[in-house]
């Protein structure tokens, strides 16, 4: 293999698994260290800059960082990154003075955002401080989009939404609540320099099976129902509730039902438990509240009683499903042929997926749609085929999550800024990278390199009976400062990189001997596939890179498998010549209007 080029920012960025996995590339270990130091406001601002909604995401993020977390590969569970973010948000001081301000003199460009959800707000957050006049339209009476309408209050208190949405609307945005955009053509006719569409995936999929029409009074579309609950239009549900679907919306529906009078609430899913789309922790939370999840049952018909005009839902009939392998060896979910099963209920919540809907976009405004009736959007610039119109969040590529919406927002803001200034939208600013040695003394580092043996700490919960008594009580109490500190210590500081200097190495083997994870090998060079088998511990995780040095005096190379490195720095402590150094690699994404290099 060629010597690894650690000058390219991608190499070390990839080693910081959490940051690499995060769509917004939040510098996770950096803010975890700040939390450990009790610098909650600083930790919050690191987050706020990168992901815009730390308090909201600290409760609701889909946390792609956690499955990626290296800690999950060296022991059972990853660091509770998401809930640590909340620790920063909960314990910060008043940070309003640290927020950017919109300049008094505008730059003359006007941008319209369709929808006041996370994607649009991220665009506005990036553009307003640059002097853009940003107008945000939303059909709802308050901002936040799906954050406010679809996430129940027991997971995300309204104050947190108001606070963090407020930080952005406070940048002098022109908020047009209660104004749903019904025509893109009309909007394009108005004097806007660019339009950002962050209208989400607002349509819940319906279930068209017999009885749907007759029993419609008691059959509700999940996201619409959640939205109505959020705005206080619905306050009750029947005692026996069936939730159809296995995603996170289904989990929110069933847990909300338990708080609105549902006593016998079930989730019934077509697939198996493991194939459900809901995050594992959301399934666990639902089960913890006494909600059974029944699998391999496909809804076939709604049963009802009564006749025209006064029909009432009585239950749902399900067909039993099971996995079978077809001739081509493909696993398929098919009916097993067992007798159908009937479950009685008073209400049904349908949470079987969401769709995009663009009835308000005319097809003659120069905006092309693809075969799935989705707008054609460039995945990097988020520009549509009408160069003035940009997309982001669920509206761009179908339902994802808040953190993706934020990442789209940042990218779209860069594009809009460049577009308005007449620059090439395709030229993207490189990230800002700072790399510096952490050496303080002979065996002292400016980061805490001792490895905690603690297992993942559980977030304390409100007592169950009390939690179920009102939709307003937040279930998770969050880590207190002590627990938060203990959890920060589980972070392996993967951004503090092991940097190797070939000319300094005398091949004494000290690093090989001390490495607790058998990451380091000195061996003859070879092809990657061959090297992977010849290391001190076989490097079977091919998603993780090998760090290869130049040729050493004995003709060998140093090969380090990044996979399970603890970043404990013992290699550097045991190195007599300083051939190993621990260097912090801090990568900050460049947002709209920021200088790409040098600060």
């Amino acid at each position: 293999m060629e010597p690894t080029n650690t000058e390219a920012p991608e190499y070390f960025h990839k080693v910081v698994d959490c940051q690499w996995a995060c769509p917004a590339h939040t510098p996770v270990p950096e803010y975890i260290r700040l939390i450990a130091a009790g610098r909650y406001s600083d930790a919050y601002m690191v987050n706020w800059k990168s992901n815009v909604f730390p308090g909201i995401l600290g409760r609701t993020c889909d946390r792609p960082c956690e499955p990626a977390c290296r800690r999950g590969r060296v022991e059972e569970e990853p660091v509770a990154i998401c809930r640590l973010k909340r620790v920063a948000a909960d314990n910060k001081d008043d940070i309003t003075a640290r927020l950017p301000k919109a300049p008094e003199r505008k730059n003359g460009f006007r941008v319209a955002c369709v929808g006041a959800g996370p994607a649009s707000l991220a665009v506005a957050r990036d553009l307003a401080p640059l002097g853009y006049h940003v107008t945000v339209f939303d059909g709802d009476p308050k901002g936040g989009g799906m954050i406010r309408t679809q996430i129940p209050r027991f997971r995300l208190p309204e104050e947190v939404i108001d606070e963090e949405v407020g930080y952005i609307t406070g940048l002098g945005l022109d908020m047009k609540y209660g104004q749903r955009i019904e025509s893109l053509k009309a909007l394009l006719a108005e004097p806007y320099d660019a339009i950002f569409v962050g209208s989400g995936a607002p349509r819940g999929r319906d279930l068209d099976v017999p009885g749907r029409e007759e029993a419609r009074a008691n059959i509700h579309i999940g996201i619409d129902w959640l939205s109505n609950v959020s705005f206080g239009h619905i306050e009750k549900i029947g005692k026996r509730v069936i939730v159809l679907g296995g995603g996170n919306t289904a989990m929110d529906c069933c847990r909300t039902s338990r708080r609105l009078g549902g006593e016998d609430v079930k989730v019934i899913v077509r697939s198996g438990y493991d194939e459900m789309k809901a995050s594992p922790w959301e399934k666990e939370d639902a089960q913890h509240e006494g909600i059974p999840i029944l699998n391999f049952l496909a809804p076939k018909a709604f049963t009802y009683e009564g006749t025209n005009g006064s029909t009432r839902l009585t239950g749902v009939v399900f067909q039993k499903m099971g996995w079978t392998t077809d001739d081509k060896g493909k696993r398929r979910l098919l009916p097993t042929g067992e007798p159908d099963q009937h479950f009685e209920c008073d209400d049904v919540l349908v949470a079987i997926g969401q769709e995009n809907a663009f009835p308000w976009i005319e097809r003659d405004v120069g905006l092309e749609f693809d075969e799935w009736d989705m707008p054609k959007v460039d995945p990097v610039t988020l520009q549509s085929t009408n160069p003035k119109v940009f997309f982001g969040g669920d509206a761009a590529f179908g339902p994802k999550n808040i953190i993706w919406a934020v990442a789209h927002g940042h990218d779209a803001a860069i594009s809009i800024d460049r577009f308005c200034r007449g620059q090439d939208v395709g030229l993207r600013p490189p990230p800002n990278v700072l790399q510096s040695s952490q050496k303080m003394g002979i065996h002292e580092w400016s980061y805490d390199n001792d490895i905690s043996n603690d297992e993942r700490h559980r977030v304390p919960l409100l007592e169950k009976d009390k939690a179920l008594s009102s939709i307003k009580f937040e279930v998770e109490l969050g880590f207190d400062k002590g627990l938060g500190y203990a959890e920060t210590q589980r972070c392996l500081n993967c951004d503090v990189q092991t940097v190797f200097s070939t000319p300094a190495c005398i091949e004494c083997d000290a690093c090989v001997d001390i490495c607790p994870m058998d990451c380091i090998t000195f061996t003859a060079n070879g092809e990657e596939s061959d090297l992977r088998t010849r290391l001190k511990a076989p490097a079977e995780n091919e998603t993780q890179d090998l760090y290869v040095s130049g040729t050493l005096p004995t003709g060998r190379v140093m090969v380090k498998d990044e996979d399970v490195c603890l970043h404990c720095g013992l290699c550097a402590e045991r190195c007599p010549t300083g051939a190993w150094d621990m260097q912090k690699f801090l990568l900050d994404m460049t947002h709209a209007g920021e200088k790409a290099c040098g600060r």
Binding site: V74, E444, C508, A510, D513, I514, L566, R574
Partner: protein, 351 residues
């Protein structure tokens, strides 16, 4: 040294031996030696050898004297017996321990100061008596703990870190061991674990006095130009006579070699030492020839490494003395203390 303990976490795929232990279970406390010390590599090799031998840690006793080398038993085999003796007296304490409990495996760890200066006499007598042990000298040719004076194994003409030339002749411990009758004699280099680990395994399995002279560069005081025990010098002048594959008695032999390329030596416990020849015509079973060869290569400035001598028909001190076959702690009281009548009888025989 490091300020933090080595983390308990280990590689998820770390192999386990027949006892269910990982290599990490054979480790000791974190080393307090200087960064890069060759001794730490020898400790790591001992850990690896014991792991591969499926050794029960409580069946092994590690003994040492004084010096950097003699600190190292703290850094491996935390669950074994240990005795850190007075300077240079390790061989005698080991001999005594061996006489009392012949069932344990004895690992003597010493350095060039401890064994070639203050303890030279003790070393010599433990070898000539044929104590069943593996005796490793971690040889850096310098007094590291007292800041870099020449030791008794420093080569004549080699330079200290400050540039002083050594005018005294060096003691060659391998030649001494051969001359005194060690039945397993090897020399190796801390920077070559592939060579060292099998040599340690063979030494532990050997019955009788097994001696390994392991050159171990002192990073702080003896790794400069002009030193003959530096990484660079040893790598340049290292002449391996053979490569050893240690094969336990029960494991089938997979490696195939051309006839005449290998020498096989079966030891008492059934283990096989399979030696791939590097130097043609070198037969480690021939002690006289080995001594002549070593002298010749030494004069040519080479450092000969490998398994230099092995006597398949080795004996140990217990054989010579005709001692009881059980360790003393397993004998009943009446056998250990036969009473005044037995004493009278012995005394009578001496009158």
């Amino acid at each position: 040294m490091t300020y933090i303990a080595k983390p308990r976490l280990h590689h998820p795929e770390l192999p386990k031996n027949a006892l269910g232990f990982t290599r990490r279970d054979y480790e000791g406390r974190v080393s307090t030696l200087c960064a890069g010390c060759g001794h730490d590599s020898i400790s790591a090799s001992i850990v690896q050898a014991c792991f591969e031998l499926d050794l029960q840690p409580h069946r092994l006793a590690k003994l040492s004297g004084i010096g950097c080398s003699s600190k190292t038993p703290d850094y491996f085999l935390s669950h074994s017996h240990g005795f850190n003796t007075v300077h240079g007296r390790m061989p005698s304490v080991l001999t005594g321990a061996n006489l009392a409990n012949r069932d344990l495996i004895y690992l003597g760890v010493s350095g060039d100061g401890d064994s070639a200066s203050i303890g030279l006499g003790q070393f010599a007598h433990s070898i000539r008596r044929g104590v069943n042990m593996a005796y490793i000298v971690e040889n850096n040719g310098v007094y590291g703990l007292t800041k870099g004076q020449f030791s008794a194994t420093s080569d004549k003409g080699s330079k200290s870190k400050k540039g002083v030339v050594n005018t005294d002749s060096a003691i060659d411990m391998v030649m001494l061991a051969l001359q005194l009758g060690a039945t397993y004699v090897a020399r190796s280099f801390s920077g070559d674990k592939a060579q060292l680990v099998p040599l340690i395994k063979g030494a532990i399995a050997h019955r009788g006095p097994a001696f390994i002279d392991c050159i171990s560069p002192c990073i702080a005081f003896n790794n400069h130009a002009g030193s003959t025990k530096s990484f660079d010098y040893v790598r340049e002048h290292n002449e391996a006579v053979n490569r050893l594959d240690y094969i336990t008695g029960r494991a089938p032999i997979h490696a195939a070699y051309e006839p005449g390329e290998t020498i096989e030596v079966t030891q008492h416990d059934g283990s096989v030492l399979k030696l791939r020849k590097v130097a043609a015509d070198y037969d480690p079973r021939d002690r006289i020839a080995a001594m002549a060869f070593l002298q010749e290569r030494d004069a040519a400035g080479e450092i000969v490494t490998g398994l230099l001598h092995v006597d398949p028909d080795s004996h140990d001190l217990h054989d010579h003395l005709g001692t009881v076959s059980a360790p003393l702690n397993r004998l009943p009281d009446d056998a250990l203390v036969p009473g005044s009548a037995a004493l009278e009888k012995i005394n009578g025989a001496l009158r």
